[in-house]
Amino acid sequence: MMTLVINVSYKLRIAFSTVTKSKRFTTPYSAYGLLLHRTIEYFVVIMILLYYFSAFGQQLLRFEFHLAQSQTQNPWYQNGYWPLVGAIAILVVTNSVSLYEVILSSRRNYRNDVKLKNIDLLSEKLNSFYNPLYSLLSANQSLFMVFGPRSFPEDRIRREAAAKIWAEIRGNVILPNNDRILGILEDQSHLLHDRDEIRNYVELINHLHSYKIFCEITTEIHNSFKFPEYIVAHVEAARSEVLNSLNSIRKFS
């Protein structure tokens, strides 16, 4: 009777979900949802049992003598309350197993979701922060070394040409790159890696702001905000760390 009730409720649930195409029923139950469902089922079973005991209790007592007689004729598990106990035990075991399976699969899905989120986050860190920052810083540093004032040749004519080229490169490449670096540091700082900190970039930010002003107003104050030489190596190291984390997650997933 009890298994019948549970089976009927389950079938009704399936039937209802297929008929109505309701997303609520077609989506897999969460562990807590199933627990609630099972609790309601157990409640129904207990109500039925109470009904059994109250309605047929007296009759059961009355037929005790006959039951004792029948025990001599049938095996023990077919006499008395044993069929009822067996049915309840089967019910409990099967439902516990299915509940355990659901909890396990939920945990597995949760862990997979976390891994996917981590992969997405690390990819965004690389694509939106470390990769553009590294390429822009490297490009600017390289341009400064090759075309900057320190590279001006001694020969007067060549020096003037070099100065003109440097002025063009500074206006068309270096300063726009600096603006992009500042934009990345200001807008994407939430993508800093776990062991990286914004204070590592404060010197760079100061230098970029100072250099922009220096290009318009020639002042020696800019000497206090020189380009931090360590920053390219720092960004490269942080980028490698993010890349390694990403590869390790991909490897074990």
Partner: protein, 106 residues
Amino acid sequence: MADNSWLYRELSKNSNLRVSRSLEELISVRTWWEEVHNIYCPDHSEYMVTVDTVQKVIEIGGSIISYPSSWCSCSMEARRYAVENGVIVMPHGETFEFMKKWAVRR
């Protein structure tokens, strides 16, 4: 080491002024009221005239710093320091104009 050969040539030959190299790093120009100006020209490593440059020029007895504006600039601090210490800082173009106006010709 100052690189003033180009400026020396321009002042002496092209501008036809009476100039001399009193010291290796300075070019001397005499005005018509007998005042001598010693011109310093920054070398290729001094792409910005700074306070240090002005101090160095004062030490060696210079009174004018003439710089090529194509590859060299002058900081605000250096300009201010130079004014306070009686040194004139100007680009080559202004130097030529100044000298043509006031220097003694040959």
